[in-house]
């Protein structure tokens, strides 16, 4: 595979065009699927009437599309694109294909924060706030630990993240153990498993800003990420303030992930699988990789969420389905590509 074709503008353009068409089509098709039989036609009619065109739709159809499906689909788009962009940025910044949002401890920390609020039977607003706050502070703690042990240590950062993450996961287990089995335990388990089913427009409103802000910061740092992913010494030699940039990127990643956990629980795998798919399709340049990751992540997440809410009467836990679908997809892609897209050096 040593032969390298110069990237054809048309091929790349076709991929972008495909993504650009696929994203809205998937969204529309998924809005048409579910436990209530509607079809795309009814969805289009509802959406058109909401935009001011066409006749008033059936009020039942309106409720299904607007209240039951749209809020969670929007959140799935936000969460999927956010987690996926965050995963891509972390992998580039830490130069390691295996890292994801869980590596810096933010998922476990946010999980513990939210669990603690449920344990004290506080309102769901405080569950969200607790998860968000604890996720942020956990990552800051991890970064501080890594800095303590020497300036240049990506390894220390990853190790501290894993240790602190395991520590908070253990604390969450203790909370599950102490919780009242009739009243609190089911809430804890349900929230931790992750689900978009309790999403409303007001919850979307709470997290849309942090997620979008985090993503904008990541996009703005796309070129710096290219430099960082060449290696620490090279980046320093080029005059990039490595530690400052790394801290900003990790902070942006943390804000995105903590916001997602706070409304939808812990959703693993998206931040690992979709960045790799994007890397295979669009290569290692973060200026293209990050938007591509975000788009693929959004499509992936909306499809997974549609599966979760439609296959059975029971709502399936989204975290488990991302792993079940994502794992085999990931392995087959890896076998076919032989880690293409990681060869920068």
């Amino acid at each position: 595979m040593a032969k390298r074709n110069p990237p054809l503008l048309t091929a790349s353009g076709a991929k972008w065009a495909l993504l650009a068409v696929l994203a809205p089509v998937t969204m529309l098709a998924c809005l048409g699927m579910g436990r209530v039989d509607l079809g795309v036609g009814a969805v289009v009619k509802v959406l058109l009437s909401a935009a001011g065109w066409g006749a008033n739709p059936d009020s039942f159809h309106y409720t299904v599309v607007f209240n039951a499906r749209l809020p969670r689909s929007i959140l799935a788009v936000l969460a999927g694109s956010g987690l996926s962009a965050a995963g891509s940025a972390l992998q580039g910044c830490l130069r390691n294909p295996l890292v994801g949002p869980q590596t810096v401890g933010v998922l476990a920390g946010a999980g513990f924060g939210g669990s603690l609020m449920i344990f004290f039977t506080l309102h769901s607003f405080w569950v969200m706030a607790g998860a968000f706050g604890a996720g942020l502070s956990t990552t800051f703690f991890v970064v501080w630990l890594a800095r303590k042990s020497g300036p240049s240590s990506v390894l220390m950062l990853v190790l501290s993240g894993i240790v602190v993450g395991t520590f908070f996961a253990a604390l969450t287990t203790i909370l599950q153990y102490l919780a009242d089995p009739e009243t609190q335990l089911p809430q804890l388990v349900f929230w931790l498993m992750g689900s978009f089913s309790a999403v409303t427009f007001s919850k979307v409103g709470w997290v849309v800003l942090p997620i979008l802000a985090g993503m904008i910061v990541l996009f703005a740092f796309a070129f710096r990420l290219n430099v960082l992913s060449c290696g620490e010494e090279e980046a320093m030699a080029l005059g990039v303030p490595v530690y400052r940039d790394r801290a900003i990127i990790i902070a942006a990643v943390t804000v995105i992930c903590a916001a997602v956990v706070s409304v939808a629980g812990i959703i693993g795998w998206v931040g690992l699988v979709t960045p790799h798919i994007a890397r295979m399709l669009f290569g290692p340049d973060h200026r293209r990789l990050l938007p591509a990751s975000a788009l693929i992540g959004a499509i992936f997440m909306v499809m997974i969420d549609t599966l979760c809410r439609s296959i059975t009467a029971a709502e399936l836990p989204v975290g488990a389905i991302t792993a079940i679908v994502g794992g085999p997809v990931f392995i087959s892609l890896l076998r076919r590509s032989h880690a293409k897209g990681w060869r920068v050096d």
Partner: protein, 386 residues
């Protein structure tokens, strides 16, 4: 004739012997008869008490049990109810204590608030062996599933009576209650409770058994509605049993079993229930349904037929000693044209029998969740003012 009065005459000795023999035979016959007719009364006089639990295991006690620990959550309240007090209860599950503190029982059995509740590992059903041994119990009442909940206790030499977890039918509920009654030596009182169960069951079943499917409203019971997710009862749970008994049909029953399955708003729209029951274990209320714009199209919401389950001596959702009141309440709401009990009177009467307690009007309102349910359809039948 004088010979007859001679105490040493052979005839006299024969007559005395004959009389003694008759007396002896009569005594033996009487004792045998007593043994046959009154075996229980002999047991009370020091013979061993044998209780067969839900595992089919026979547990023998040499004296009346005086120190009881309950791990299944409703059983603390069952023991106090059947025994008429908390004297013999020395330990219980922390959640049982919480239910006493939150509900009516703190007023009925105030002395139960000081009973120890550290007999489990946290909120689980795993026994805390150290603190159980410290309490020197005569018996521990425990769930039978999973089996290791019992094994650790029995291997430590503690006698365990096993009950079937969260009974899914009335038959299992009654057997659990009967076993506890037997253990307490309260067979008569337990029998009187069973009579109440059976007479209410007959009155409701004789009406609802014949109701065809199309006249049975579609019902849903929610174990939780807020942060725990929307989790309706499926098949094979006690809530499915009483919704069917009351003349409804559990629409989630066709899809899954148990109480742990979460569903989404859209599935509820697809089921379109006519009546919704909101469980008493959860902090959710009818307002969670009435105020949710996504559920505004549901028939139950449009017709204001959403009801919070009552909470008295125990929560009315699962099988307990108060379940016959659950059935009456649910029947009146599910088939309003077919049932017209005086529920308030029935509750007053039941609480006199169960707890020897006279309820105030305010307490009945609290039990019936009048605050949450008062504005719902048909609920004015329970205000006593209609």
């Amino acid at each position: 004739m004088s010979a007859c009065f001679n105490p040493f005459s052979p005839l006299r000795r024969f007559l005395v012997f004959q009389a003694q023999l008759r007396l002896g035979v009569a005594a033996v016959v009487l004792v045998l008869a007593a043994l046959v007719v009154f075996p229980a009364s002999v047991g009370a006089a020091g013979e061993p008490l044998v209780v067969e639990d839900q595992r089919g295991k026979k547990i023998e006690f040499n004296a009346p049990v005086e120190r009881i620990i309950t791990i299944p959550m409703p059983m603390a309240s069952v023991v106090m109810t059947l025994d008429g007090g908390s004297k013999r209860l020395v330990g219980m599950h922390p959640s049982s204590l919480k239910s006493i503190e939150e509900g009516l029982l703190k007023r009925i059995f105030p002395e139960s608030l000081s009973i120890r509740a550290d007999v489990t590992r946290g909120g689980t059903f795993t026994p805390n062996l150290e603190s159980i041994l410290e309490l020197h119990p005569d018996v521990v009442i425990q769930w039978t599933q999973p089996a290791d909940l019992i094994e650790s206790l029995e291997s430590a030499g503690i006698k365990v009576v096993g009950l079937i977890n969260s009974p899914k039918t009335q038959a299992i509920n009654e057997k659990n209650l009967a076993i506890v009654g037997e253990l307490l030596g309260r067979r008569e009182r337990t029998g009187a409770l069973m009579d109440r169960f059976h007479s209410v069951m007959d009155r409701i079943e004789s009406v609802t058994a014949a109701i065809p499917a199309k006249e049975r409203p579609r019902t849903l019971y929610f174990r939780s509605v807020r942060d725990g997710g929307m989790r309706p009862a499926g098949r094979k749970v006690y809530q499915d049993f009483w919704m069917t008994l009351a003349g409804g049909q559990n629409v989630a029953g066709g899809s899954f079993e148990g109480l742990e399955t979460a569903v989404n708003v859209e599935q509820i729209l697809a089921w379109n229930p006519e009546i919704i029951f909101v469980g008493a274990f959860d902090n959710g209320t009818p307002a969670d349904f009435m105020d949710n714009p996504a559920l505004a199209e549901i028939e139950a919401v449009r017709n204001r037929r959403v009801y919070k389950l009552p909470h008295g001596g125990y929560r009315w959702d699962p099988g307990s000693h108060e379940s016959f009141l659950t059935w009456m309440w649910a029947a009146m709401l599910t088939q309003p044209n077919r049932f017209d009990f005086n529920l308030r009177e029935a509750i007053i009467d039941a609480y006199r029998f169960l707890y020897n307690y006279n309820l105030s009007e305010t307490e009945i309102d609290e039990i019936l969740q009048m605050k949450d349910n008062g504005s719902m359809a048909e609920y004015d039948r329970f205000t006593g003012k209609r």
